[in-house]
């Protein structure tokens, strides 16, 4: 045991001396590893941020929510019926809850700020679904995440001033708009109604109902049967597909990065380790001639490589985290990920797996040294 410590001490001194004499060698290894790890980290974290963005959008919109929009112009039949005709999407009521609204061609403003809010009107049939948001004082609802819930305030729509009660939008209604919206009873804004509207149906599929793909197909079929142009349909399906595609790409990239990082580290470190091993062949052979186990010499190269790659990786990771806002802000990705409840992306399994790849590369790079150590001492010292 004591001799192992003595040899290890000598070898570490030897390594340190070599580093001081030829700083280019450890610095080159450091730089290459740090650069590779930084690139890999940026790619992996970017994937995570994109995934989080999509997941947040999915959570906001809801997986089982469908938004169907159709323009009703003053020239159309529906306009003459003033929307009182049969609901073309009425059949969907069996598969979930449905809210039929009109998005009017007018914008509203709150008294708090000069904002520009979407205005929807709701029919009397929608009252059961909106009941918990209504107030006895007013039938105008201001759906907002930003304003305090329950607050009453004055809103202006065109030249009309109304009182509205602020309510939090239920999840299934979040698809209507990303910002604050106003819901007004139908018939209150006659003048605006005459301009036409966008017939907007929010549908939430109930559990056990046919899958969303089939419901979307049914909506399109209904439009075709009624000789109407296809409506604009908004659902979470494209987001789900996008998320699946992103995950597939991330897995591909992880594999590619693993091969790239491990391979590059193995090549660079292997070449330098072999070069230095040849330079230090004599010292190694001399130690072996005393009976020192070759495995100690191999471990020295392995330890040196592992130390360098891990230090470089920690540095690269820290640097990337410090420059997070600059890097990902520049790429147009959310930069508040470090404070996000989704966990720190820099300590995620995908990013930490970088350490596995580079250590595998370091191990591979030491194998030529292990082979070199099989050369007989007598041939080296001849």
């Amino acid at each position: 045991m004591k001799f192992s410590i003595l040899i290890a001490s000598y070898l570490s001194k030897d390594t340190w001396k070599r580093w001081c004499e030829q700083p280019g060698s450890p610095l080159a290894r450091w730089f290459v590893t740090a650069l590779l790890v930084m690139v890999a980290t940026v790619i992996l974290v970017a994937f995570q941020l994109l995934e989080r963005g999509l997941q947040e959008r999915l959570a906001r919109f809801g997986l089982d929510t469908l938004l169907v929009r159709r323009n009703v112009t003053p020239a159309s039949v529906a306009f003459f019926r003033q929307g009182d005709g049969p609901d073309p999407l009425g059949v969907l009521s069996a598969d979930g809850k449905k809210l039929r609204l009109r998005q009017l061609f007018v914008r509203g403003q709150t008294e708090l700020q000069q904002d520009n809010l979407f205005v929807y009107s709701y029919p009397p049939q929608a009252l059961p679904l909106l009941a918990n948001m209504l107030s006895p004082d007013t039938s105008v609802i201001c759906l907002s995440d930003a304003l305090p819930a329950g607050m009453k305030m004055q809103v202006q729509i065109g030249d009309r001033k109304l009182f509205a009660k602020v309510a939090r939008p239920q999840n299934w209604l979040r698809g209507l708009a990303t910002d604050t919206i106003l819901l007004v009873p139908q018939g209150w804004l006659q003048e605006e109604d005459e301009l036409g509207w966008i017939e907007t149906t929010v549908f939430q599929r109930r559990p056990g109902a046919p899958p969303m793909e089939r419901i979307i197909a049914a909506v399109n079929t209904l439009s075709t049967l009624d000789n109407r142009p296809p409506p604009q349909i908004q659902s979470a399906l494209p987001l789900v597909h996008e998320l699946d595609e992103l995950k597939r790409r991330r897995i591909e990239w992880e594999g590619l990065l693993a091969a790239m990082l491990g391979g590059a580290v193995a090549l660079v470190y292997g070449a330098i380790a072999v070069l230095e091993f040849r330079q230090n062949l004599y010292v190694g052979a001399l130690l072996r001639s005393f009976g020192s186990p070759p495995v100690l010499l191999f471990l020295k190269y392995l330890f040196e490589n592992i130390l360098l790659v891990n230090l470089a990786a920690i540095l690269a990771l820290t640097l990337t985290a410090m420059l997070h806002s600059a890097i990902f802000g520049g790429l147009g990705l959310p930069t508040d990920a470090l404070n996000s409840s989704g966990g720190n992306p820099y300590t995620s399994a995908a990013v930490l797996s970088v350490f596995v790849w580079i250590n595998a590369g370091a191990l591979l790079s030491s194998l030529p040294v292990a082979i070199g150590l099989r050369q007989p001492v007598g041939e080296i010292l001849s």
Partner: protein, 223 residues
């Protein structure tokens, strides 16, 4: 089986298969005491020492150490073998004292024995003033003496020296000879490969290795 001798049984060696034999069917028993291997350059003296040390493996035949094992046995190399190379013997980043301590520790000597043995052999070889010196700051003779001290410090059963006095002045040669005389006692086997006549009086046996020299090299040697 343990014995007091080191035996070479039909030992043959060549560095590569397409090269001629350097040593062919060599049989010899090294007895306790000093054996001096003489011969012209290239006759295989150093190669034989490396075979005896287990640093090379015989292509044919076998070498049996006094411990009854092959010389490549790590335990034999650690505890029972001391080897002095012709040059480049010291670890360049360790002081003379550290070089000795390292070799003795690898041999498994306790701290007290390391200190005693180091003091004894360094004293005999006149190296006490250079204990804390690094190898590069020593002269050639001092380096060679330090290397011999390092081989002796673990008091091995078998000591092999490859041209230990090559290129050294008479004073250094005398110091080394005196230390070797002190060392070779009891059942210790010391094999010296050298063509330095200053070591001949030390030898209990002389082994002429010119027999392995190719004919043309014999003629060259005669000329």
């Amino acid at each position: 089986m343990k014995s007091i001798n080191m035996r070479c049984l039909d030992v043959s060696f060549r560095y590569r298969r397409d090269r001629p034999w350097i040593i062919a069917d060599f049989n010899y028993t090294f007895h306790p005491g000093v054996t001096l291997i003489k011969g012209a350059s290239g006759c295989g003296k150093s190669t034989l020492l490396r075979l005896l040390a287990g640093f090379l493996k015989p292509a044919r035949g076998q070498i049996v150490t006094p411990e009854g094992c092959a010389p490549a046995n790590a335990e034999f190399q650690r505890r029972e073998l001391g080897f002095v190379f012709q040059q480049l013997n010291l670890l360049p980043l360790a002081t003379v004292q550290r070089n000795l301590a390292l070799a003795a520790s690898i041999a498994g000597l306790p701290g007290k024995a390391i200190a005693e043995n180091s003091a004894r052999w360094l004293g005999l070889l006149g190296l006490e003033p250079y204990l804390k010196r690094m190898p590069h700051s020593l002269s050639g003779g001092q380096q060679q003496r330090a290397a011999i001290a390092r081989a002796m410090v673990k008091e091995p059963r078998v000591l092999l020296l490859d041209e230990p006095t090559s290129g050294l002045d008479d004073l250094n040669a005398r110091v080394i000879t005196r230390a070797l005389k002190q060392f070779v006692t009891g059942n210790r086997i010391c094999v010296i490969s050298s063509h330095d006549s200053r070591l001949e009086h030390l030898a209990d046996e002389v082994l002429d290795f010119n027999c392995f020299l190719p004919l043309e090299r014999h003629l060259e040697a005669l000329v």
